[in-house]
Symmetry: C2
Subunit: 173 residues, 2 copies
Protein backbone atom coordinates (compact mmCIF):
# COMPACT_ATOMS: atom_id res chain seq x y z
CA UNK A 1 0.00 0.00 0.00
CA UNK A 2 1.20 3.54 -0.71
CA UNK A 3 1.65 5.92 2.18
CA UNK A 4 2.67 9.55 2.56
CA UNK A 5 3.16 12.01 5.41
CA UNK A 6 1.76 15.54 5.18
CA UNK A 7 0.72 18.64 7.08
CA UNK A 8 -2.74 20.00 6.36
CA UNK A 9 -2.68 23.75 6.99
CA UNK A 10 -5.70 25.57 8.45
CA UNK A 11 -9.03 25.79 6.64
CA UNK A 12 -8.21 29.41 5.78
CA UNK A 13 -5.00 28.57 3.93
CA UNK A 14 -6.54 25.47 2.36
CA UNK A 15 -9.44 27.56 1.02
CA UNK A 16 -7.01 30.04 -0.56
CA UNK A 17 -4.94 27.23 -2.10
CA UNK A 18 -8.07 25.49 -3.39
CA UNK A 19 -9.27 28.66 -5.10
CA UNK A 20 -6.25 28.20 -7.41
CA UNK A 21 -6.00 24.39 -7.37
CA UNK A 22 -9.58 24.09 -8.60
CA UNK A 23 -8.46 25.40 -11.97
CA UNK A 24 -4.75 24.62 -12.07
CA UNK A 25 -4.10 21.37 -10.18
CA UNK A 26 -5.33 18.01 -11.51
CA UNK A 27 -4.83 16.58 -7.99
CA UNK A 28 -7.48 18.97 -6.65
CA UNK A 29 -10.01 16.18 -6.04
CA UNK A 30 -7.50 13.59 -4.81
CA UNK A 31 -6.14 15.29 -1.67
CA UNK A 32 -6.74 18.52 0.27
CA UNK A 33 -4.05 21.24 0.08
CA UNK A 34 -1.01 20.02 1.98
CA UNK A 35 2.67 20.37 2.74
CA UNK A 36 4.47 17.07 2.04
CA UNK A 37 6.82 15.93 4.80
CA UNK A 38 7.58 12.55 3.25
CA UNK A 39 6.86 11.54 -0.32
CA UNK A 40 4.91 8.45 -1.29
CA UNK A 41 6.42 5.20 -0.02
CA UNK A 42 5.25 1.61 -0.01
CA UNK A 43 4.70 -0.46 3.14
CA UNK A 44 2.79 -3.60 4.13
CA UNK A 45 0.32 -3.82 7.04
CA UNK A 46 2.88 -4.95 9.60
CA UNK A 47 5.53 -2.44 8.57
CA UNK A 48 3.08 0.47 8.76
CA UNK A 49 2.30 -0.30 12.41
CA UNK A 50 6.00 -0.01 13.15
CA UNK A 51 6.18 3.25 11.18
CA UNK A 52 3.11 4.65 13.00
CA UNK A 53 4.86 3.85 16.29
CA UNK A 54 7.98 5.71 15.18
CA UNK A 55 5.89 8.68 14.01
CA UNK A 56 4.20 8.82 17.40
CA UNK A 57 7.64 9.05 18.97
CA UNK A 58 8.79 11.72 16.47
CA UNK A 59 5.64 13.77 17.19
CA UNK A 60 6.43 13.80 20.90
CA UNK A 61 9.98 14.95 20.25
CA UNK A 62 8.98 17.94 18.12
CA UNK A 63 7.00 20.95 19.28
CA UNK A 64 4.26 22.89 17.48
CA UNK A 65 5.75 25.62 15.28
CA UNK A 66 4.82 28.62 13.17
CA UNK A 67 4.27 28.03 9.47
CA UNK A 68 4.80 31.08 7.25
CA UNK A 69 3.66 30.98 3.62
CA UNK A 70 5.30 34.10 2.28
CA UNK A 71 5.44 34.03 -1.52
CA UNK A 72 4.34 32.29 -4.69
CA UNK A 73 7.19 30.38 -6.30
CA UNK A 74 7.83 27.75 -8.98
CA UNK A 75 10.00 24.66 -9.53
CA UNK A 76 10.59 25.61 -13.16
CA UNK A 77 12.73 24.62 -15.08
CA UNK A 78 12.75 21.27 -13.19
CA UNK A 79 8.95 21.06 -13.02
CA UNK A 80 6.08 23.33 -14.04
CA UNK A 81 4.81 23.34 -10.48
CA UNK A 82 3.64 26.56 -8.80
CA UNK A 83 3.44 26.66 -5.01
CA UNK A 84 3.17 28.74 -1.86
CA UNK A 85 6.72 28.88 -0.55
CA UNK A 86 6.89 28.04 3.14
CA UNK A 87 9.59 29.46 5.38
CA UNK A 88 12.07 26.60 5.95
CA UNK A 89 12.39 27.12 9.70
CA UNK A 90 14.50 24.80 11.87
CA UNK A 91 11.47 23.07 13.47
CA UNK A 92 10.03 22.08 10.09
CA UNK A 93 13.44 20.97 8.82
CA UNK A 94 13.98 18.86 11.97
CA UNK A 95 10.58 17.20 11.57
CA UNK A 96 11.37 16.39 7.93
CA UNK A 97 14.82 15.10 8.80
CA UNK A 98 13.46 12.79 11.51
CA UNK A 99 11.32 11.10 8.82
CA UNK A 100 14.32 10.63 6.53
CA UNK A 101 16.72 9.40 9.17
CA UNK A 102 18.39 6.03 8.74
CA UNK A 103 16.58 4.79 11.85
CA UNK A 104 13.17 5.70 10.45
CA UNK A 105 12.98 3.72 7.21
CA UNK A 106 16.57 3.60 6.03
CA UNK A 107 15.89 5.95 3.11
CA UNK A 108 17.42 9.31 2.38
CA UNK A 109 15.54 12.28 0.89
CA UNK A 110 15.81 12.42 -2.91
CA UNK A 111 16.02 16.20 -2.98
CA UNK A 112 16.82 18.88 -0.48
CA UNK A 113 13.67 19.85 1.42
CA UNK A 114 11.83 22.83 -0.07
CA UNK A 115 8.71 23.13 2.09
CA UNK A 116 5.77 24.15 -0.09
CA UNK A 117 2.05 23.90 -0.73
CA UNK A 118 1.37 23.11 -4.39
CA UNK A 119 -1.35 25.18 -6.06
CA UNK A 120 -0.75 24.41 -9.77
CA UNK A 121 0.92 21.52 -11.62
CA UNK A 122 1.04 19.58 -14.90
CA UNK A 123 1.03 22.87 -16.78
CA UNK A 124 2.32 23.46 -20.29
CA UNK A 125 5.13 26.02 -20.54
CA UNK A 126 2.69 28.66 -21.78
CA UNK A 127 0.16 27.94 -19.03
CA UNK A 128 2.93 28.02 -16.47
CA UNK A 129 4.15 31.38 -17.61
CA UNK A 130 0.63 32.90 -17.63
CA UNK A 131 -0.48 31.48 -14.31
CA UNK A 132 2.80 32.11 -12.53
CA UNK A 133 2.57 35.74 -13.63
CA UNK A 134 -0.93 36.21 -12.20
CA UNK A 135 -0.38 34.27 -8.97
CA UNK A 136 2.92 36.04 -8.25
CA UNK A 137 1.13 39.37 -8.44
CA UNK A 138 -1.60 38.17 -6.07
CA UNK A 139 1.05 36.76 -3.72
CA UNK A 140 0.52 35.07 -0.37
CA UNK A 141 1.28 36.21 3.15
CA UNK A 142 0.00 33.90 5.81
CA UNK A 143 1.12 32.69 9.21
CA UNK A 144 -0.31 30.02 11.47
CA UNK A 145 0.57 27.46 14.16
CA UNK A 146 1.05 23.83 13.09
CA UNK A 147 0.43 21.33 15.89
CA UNK A 148 -0.07 18.04 14.01
CA UNK A 149 0.77 15.99 10.95
CA UNK A 150 -0.95 13.09 9.20
CA UNK A 151 -0.04 9.69 7.84
CA UNK A 152 -2.12 8.98 4.70
CA UNK A 153 -2.66 6.01 2.41
CA UNK A 154 -3.62 5.99 -1.23
CA UNK A 155 -6.71 4.33 -2.71
CA UNK A 156 -6.79 2.66 -6.13
CA UNK A 157 -8.36 5.78 -7.68
CA UNK A 158 -5.32 7.84 -6.63
CA UNK A 159 -7.07 9.69 -3.78
CA UNK A 160 -5.73 9.78 -0.23
CA UNK A 161 -7.33 8.80 3.09
CA UNK A 162 -5.94 9.68 6.52
CA UNK A 163 -4.65 6.67 8.46
CA UNK A 164 -3.63 8.57 11.56
CA UNK A 165 -3.04 12.02 13.05
CA UNK A 166 -0.02 12.78 15.21
CA UNK A 167 -0.05 15.78 17.55
CA UNK A 168 3.24 17.58 18.04
CA UNK A 169 4.75 18.09 21.46
CA UNK A 170 4.79 16.24 24.74
CA UNK A 171 1.84 18.17 26.15
CA UNK A 172 -0.39 17.40 23.22
CA UNK A 173 -0.35 13.62 23.65
Amino acid sequence: MNYGIVIFPSKKLQDIANSYRKRYDPHYALIPPHLTLKNVFSADDEHIKDIAGKLSHIAKEHDPFTLKAYKVSSFQPVNNVIYFKVDPNPELQALHDAMHHREFMGDEPEYSFVPHITVAQKLSNDEHSDIYGSLSMLGIDHEETIDRFHLLYQLENGSWTVYETFRLGKENQ
Copy 2:
Protein backbone atom coordinates in the same frame (compact mmCIF):
# COMPACT_ATOMS: atom_id res chain seq x y z
CA MET B 1 -16.70 25.76 10.77
CA ASN B 2 -18.49 22.53 9.84
CA TYR B 3 -17.37 19.30 11.43
CA GLY B 4 -18.37 15.65 11.14
CA ILE B 5 -17.31 12.33 12.69
CA VAL B 6 -16.76 9.27 10.51
CA ILE B 7 -15.14 5.85 10.25
CA PHE B 8 -13.00 5.23 7.17
CA PRO B 9 -13.11 1.49 6.44
CA SER B 10 -10.05 -0.36 5.06
CA LYS B 11 -8.56 0.43 1.67
CA LYS B 12 -10.14 -2.79 0.34
CA LEU B 13 -13.71 -1.76 1.24
CA GLN B 14 -13.08 1.84 0.17
CA ASP B 15 -11.87 0.67 -3.25
CA ILE B 16 -15.02 -1.43 -3.72
CA ALA B 17 -17.25 1.48 -2.65
CA ASN B 18 -15.38 3.88 -4.92
CA SER B 19 -15.82 1.62 -7.94
CA TYR B 20 -19.55 2.47 -7.61
CA ARG B 21 -19.27 5.98 -6.18
CA LYS B 22 -17.18 7.09 -9.14
CA ARG B 23 -20.26 6.87 -11.34
CA TYR B 24 -23.14 7.19 -8.90
CA ASP B 25 -22.13 9.53 -6.07
CA PRO B 26 -21.58 13.28 -6.67
CA HIS B 27 -19.67 13.39 -3.34
CA TYR B 28 -17.04 11.03 -4.78
CA ALA B 29 -14.37 13.73 -4.96
CA LEU B 30 -15.30 15.45 -1.70
CA ILE B 31 -14.67 12.67 0.84
CA PRO B 32 -13.40 9.07 0.83
CA PRO B 33 -15.94 6.28 1.42
CA HIS B 34 -17.03 6.43 5.05
CA LEU B 35 -19.51 5.44 7.72
CA THR B 36 -20.95 8.55 9.39
CA LEU B 37 -21.01 8.45 13.18
CA LYS B 38 -22.15 12.05 13.64
CA ASN B 39 -23.65 14.24 10.94
CA VAL B 40 -22.33 17.67 10.07
CA PHE B 41 -22.38 20.14 12.98
CA SER B 42 -21.02 23.63 13.44
CA ALA B 43 -18.43 24.61 16.06
CA ASP B 44 -15.98 27.44 16.66
CA ASP B 45 -12.24 26.97 17.33
CA GLU B 46 -12.57 26.90 21.10
CA HIS B 47 -15.56 24.60 21.15
CA ILE B 48 -13.86 22.08 18.84
CA LYS B 49 -10.96 21.67 21.25
CA ASP B 50 -13.44 20.76 23.96
CA ILE B 51 -15.16 18.32 21.57
CA ALA B 52 -11.82 16.76 20.57
CA GLY B 53 -11.09 16.22 24.27
CA LYS B 54 -14.44 14.49 24.75
CA LEU B 55 -13.84 12.33 21.67
CA SER B 56 -10.49 11.29 23.04
CA HIS B 57 -12.26 10.15 26.19
CA ILE B 58 -14.99 8.34 24.21
CA ALA B 59 -12.32 6.55 22.13
CA LYS B 60 -10.68 5.20 25.29
CA GLU B 61 -13.99 3.92 26.61
CA HIS B 62 -14.85 1.94 23.47
CA ASP B 63 -12.94 -1.04 22.14
CA PRO B 64 -12.10 -1.95 18.52
CA PHE B 65 -14.92 -3.96 16.95
CA THR B 66 -15.82 -5.97 13.87
CA LEU B 67 -17.56 -4.13 11.05
CA LYS B 68 -19.67 -6.32 8.76
CA ALA B 69 -20.98 -4.91 5.49
CA TYR B 70 -23.45 -7.60 4.49
CA LYS B 71 -25.85 -6.28 1.85
CA VAL B 72 -26.70 -3.50 -0.54
CA SER B 73 -29.70 -1.51 0.65
CA SER B 74 -31.52 1.77 -0.04
CA PHE B 75 -33.21 4.59 1.88
CA GLN B 76 -35.98 4.85 -0.69
CA PRO B 77 -38.71 6.15 -0.45
CA VAL B 78 -37.19 8.66 2.03
CA ASN B 79 -34.09 9.24 -0.11
CA ASN B 80 -32.72 7.78 -3.33
CA VAL B 81 -29.55 6.74 -1.53
CA ILE B 82 -27.99 3.30 -2.08
CA TYR B 83 -25.54 1.99 0.51
CA PHE B 84 -23.65 -0.95 1.94
CA LYS B 85 -25.66 -1.93 5.00
CA VAL B 86 -23.46 -2.37 8.05
CA ASP B 87 -24.39 -4.75 10.86
CA PRO B 88 -25.66 -2.53 13.72
CA ASN B 89 -23.70 -4.29 16.44
CA PRO B 90 -23.78 -3.07 20.07
CA GLU B 91 -20.22 -1.62 19.95
CA LEU B 92 -21.02 0.57 16.94
CA GLN B 93 -24.34 1.64 18.47
CA ALA B 94 -22.62 2.51 21.76
CA LEU B 95 -20.01 4.59 19.95
CA HIS B 96 -22.73 6.47 18.06
CA ASP B 97 -24.77 6.99 21.22
CA ALA B 98 -21.78 8.43 23.10
CA MET B 99 -21.54 11.14 20.41
CA HIS B 100 -25.22 11.99 20.73
CA HIS B 101 -25.38 11.98 24.51
CA ARG B 102 -26.56 15.11 26.31
CA GLU B 103 -23.11 15.47 27.86
CA PHE B 104 -21.39 15.45 24.48
CA MET B 105 -22.96 18.39 22.67
CA GLY B 106 -26.49 18.49 24.02
CA ASP B 107 -28.00 17.33 20.73
CA GLU B 108 -30.05 14.25 20.02
CA PRO B 109 -29.81 12.17 16.83
CA GLU B 110 -32.35 13.25 14.22
CA TYR B 111 -32.99 9.71 13.05
CA SER B 112 -32.40 6.27 14.47
CA PHE B 113 -28.88 5.10 13.63
CA VAL B 114 -28.69 2.99 10.44
CA PRO B 115 -24.95 2.36 10.01
CA HIS B 116 -24.11 2.46 6.31
CA ILE B 117 -21.53 3.34 3.67
CA THR B 118 -23.12 5.36 0.87
CA VAL B 119 -22.24 4.28 -2.68
CA ALA B 120 -24.86 6.15 -4.74
CA GLN B 121 -26.97 9.25 -4.11
CA LYS B 122 -28.83 12.15 -5.76
CA LEU B 123 -30.35 9.69 -8.24
CA SER B 124 -33.57 10.14 -10.18
CA ASN B 125 -36.22 7.50 -9.49
CA ASP B 126 -35.36 5.71 -12.73
CA GLU B 127 -31.62 5.78 -12.05
CA HIS B 128 -32.25 4.54 -8.53
CA SER B 129 -34.29 1.61 -9.71
CA ASP B 130 -31.70 0.61 -12.37
CA ILE B 131 -28.64 0.98 -10.17
CA TYR B 132 -30.22 -0.58 -7.10
CA GLY B 133 -31.13 -3.59 -9.23
CA SER B 134 -27.55 -4.10 -10.47
CA LEU B 135 -25.81 -3.39 -7.17
CA SER B 136 -28.17 -5.67 -5.21
CA MET B 137 -27.27 -8.53 -7.54
CA LEU B 138 -23.55 -7.87 -7.08
CA GLY B 139 -24.06 -7.61 -3.32
CA ILE B 140 -21.40 -7.07 -0.65
CA ASP B 141 -19.99 -9.40 1.97
CA HIS B 142 -17.09 -7.94 3.89
CA GLU B 143 -15.78 -8.06 7.44
CA GLU B 144 -12.96 -6.13 9.07
CA THR B 145 -11.75 -4.71 12.37
CA ILE B 146 -12.34 -1.02 13.10
CA ASP B 147 -9.88 0.48 15.56
CA ARG B 148 -10.24 4.23 14.98
CA PHE B 149 -12.54 7.07 13.95
CA HIS B 150 -11.90 10.56 12.58
CA LEU B 151 -13.04 14.11 13.26
CA LEU B 152 -13.24 16.03 9.95
CA TYR B 153 -13.86 19.64 8.94
CA GLN B 154 -15.30 20.97 5.73
CA LEU B 155 -13.58 23.36 3.33
CA GLU B 156 -15.39 26.05 1.34
CA ASN B 157 -15.49 23.81 -1.75
CA GLY B 158 -17.45 21.20 0.19
CA SER B 159 -14.56 18.73 0.58
CA TRP B 160 -13.48 17.32 3.94
CA THR B 161 -10.09 17.33 5.69
CA VAL B 162 -9.20 15.21 8.72
CA TYR B 163 -8.69 17.23 11.90
CA GLU B 164 -7.82 14.32 14.13
CA THR B 165 -7.79 10.54 14.44
CA PHE B 166 -8.95 8.76 17.60
CA ARG B 167 -7.86 5.20 18.28
CA LEU B 168 -10.35 2.97 20.06
CA GLY B 169 -9.51 1.18 23.28
CA LYS B 170 -7.33 1.85 26.29
CA GLU B 171 -4.38 -0.10 24.89
CA ASN B 172 -4.29 1.85 21.67
CA GLN B 173 -3.63 5.23 23.25
